[in-house]
């Protein structure tokens, strides 16, 4: 009966930097905001973007130098299933702690993407939450990416990744409107990109994102929102 829900994932290196950043390097100590001078939280090893809680700037890391890339956008108060720094149990997948949060707009509403660590191994993952539709995904390495490129970004298109077959259930544009915390790569607030969602067997879920000169894929599973529980 009801619609298919839109979900997307972020996390492709240097795809929406729009020239703000040329190169990035690893590992950085706590620093201060290049815009207002306020102290920034200590940056995680994988982080390339952080928001300044004082002036609302989005700050990116470039050649071990922090630069203001723009605004972090307005994150309106809304009930959330997941919050930065709050561990949640994702069904049988283990505990997830979000360190970054991006909000995407689709006109009449928005959905949230959280980046963080999953389970005891601390692997990085994205969790998207859209009105009760929760998807946990990890980036697909290039060797296992579905074939076909832009051609498979159409409803009904079938792709396979890692031996699993998926059918395209949605193709749409996403516009990042706000972010908080720390992200593994820069996200340009206000920019729009094309994404496609593919459904597989037993709740398997694949997303593709495409931009000038690149494509990225994320694979994972649906999670019942009632299986998302705060770890006490």
């Amino acid at each position: 009966m009801p619609k298919l829900l839109k979900c997307s994932n972020q996390g492709v290196p240097s795809r929406r930097g729009k020239g703000i950043l040329a190169r990035v390097t690893q590992g950085n100590p706590a620093s201060s905001c290049p815009n207002c001078g306020a102290a920034l939280p200590e940056m995680l090893a994988h982080a390339r973007m952080v928001n300044c809680e004082f002036c609302g700037s989005s700050v990116v890391l470039e050649d071990a130098v922090l630069r203001k890339a723009g605004e972090a956008g307005e994150m309106l108060e809304a009930p959330e299933l997941i919050g930065i720094g709050v561990p949640v149990e994702l069904g049988s997948h283990g505990a997830f702690v979000a360190s970054g949060h991006v909000r995407y707009d689709y006109g009449r509403g928005h959905w949230d993407e959280y980046h963080g660590t999953l389970g005891t191994t601390g692997g990085l993952a994205w969790v998207s939450v859209d009105e009760g539709d929760v998807v946990l995904q990890r980036e697909v390495p290039p060797s296992r990416m579905p074939q076909g490129g832009r051609e498979v970004f159409r409803l009904g298109a079938e792709v396979s990744s890692n031996g699993v077959f998926y059918a395209c259930s949605e193709v749409s544009n996403a516009k990042a409107i706000a972010f908080r915390g720390q992200l593994p790569e820069p996200v340009a607030i206000g920019d729009t990109h094309l994404f496609a969602n593919f459904s597989g067997p037993r709740g398997a879920f694949l997303s593709g994102e495409i931009w000038d000169g690149g494509i990225a894929w994320f694979a994972g599973h649906w999670i019942d929102p009632f299986d998302v529980r705060r770890v006490l």
Binding site: P2, P79, R108
Partner: protein
Amino acid sequence: MTGTISAINCTNCGAGLEVLGGGRVVTQVCGYCGARLDATDAYAVLSVHAGLKRPETPFKLGMTGQIDGVTFTIIGILGLQEAWDGGVAHWVDHILYSPTHGYAWLTLEDGHILLTRKIRDWPDGSFVTDRDVARAETRPSRFWRGETYVYYATTNWKVDFVEGEFTWRPEVGHRGTSISLMPEGRFSDHMIAYAHSEEREIETTRYFPEAAAAFGVELPRPSKVHALQPYEPAPGKRFYASWFGVLTVISVLLAIIVMEGGGREVLFQGTPDQLPPSLTIPIAVVDRPVGLQFYQDLSQAWAEYEMTIVDPTGQVLAETGRAISYYSGGSGDDAWSEGSRYESLVFQPTVSGDYRLDVALAEASPRAQPAPLRLTLQEGQGASIWTWGAAALFGMATLWTLSSSWRHRMLRWNGSDWVEEDD
């Protein structure tokens, strides 16, 4: 998840309408004028359903309630019906919304409440359609989350009322099919359904009477057992089962005592021509009947005896006769027999003392004359039929009580439209 808008005015009639749903809502139907508004296009009027008959439901738009600790709001109401040869069934779907947990359905059907949610981890196997059901020789089944679900029923529904917000475009007259499957286990309290209208969805439904308290409504009393209704033993089931069980045992014991009890005495044993002209029977107990049993080992023969019983005061208590005959033939499955080697005569003694019994062979077939005859007396002859009857009655009451969960399960599957085809 969004919603800076919290109220609009119906673009058809101007009535104020609350906006309760999330960003995925595409249609809002005005409860006052029946206008279907396009929530994605400035609430432009799509069409107007005039004169809709509101279905009976205690749930209203805007009501909130907790489901498994999550607050949901009723954002839409959908009246549905299914017509078949026997009549029309009506039920009401209430669309629920939570900003964090999304959409769900609360269904009110004959006073039963069901909670339905869409599932994403579809069972393996093809989407079950009514064609699959029609072609299947056994109930179609699917395996989901560790359980096997078997075909329960097909519902061909039609929308007859719409109000509120929806994530699709419902319309009166809109039709769809829903094929439900249920685990066969005794404790199953949920179904999965393959729903097919514009899109294909698979849903899971569970029995959810807690909704009445959660949303603060009073529900009508259901008239039938619902397919998903869990079995609840009636209060006192254990007591009644034990009580009737004990009474059954007592009745059987009483019946055996009555049958076996009383003093038995062989009055005569021999061929009929050895019968003395008169026998004396001393009887002490007079408040219970006395039985006389005739047994003659007859085969393809008959014999008729005349007898007179006189009490100690000289009153005649019986002046009558008894016939014994036994014929048989055939063999194996065709074997037959007719008559009985036993006969009896039961009389009520009047006073204690010596009774006189005169028995004589009146007539007999030639083969009967040398056949041994035995005459037995039973003082205190009862009628065990009464206690056997009581045992049967109490036994049935025990079984009825003990079978309540089985009967409940039968009633749950009663709603299934599966017909086993005889070949």
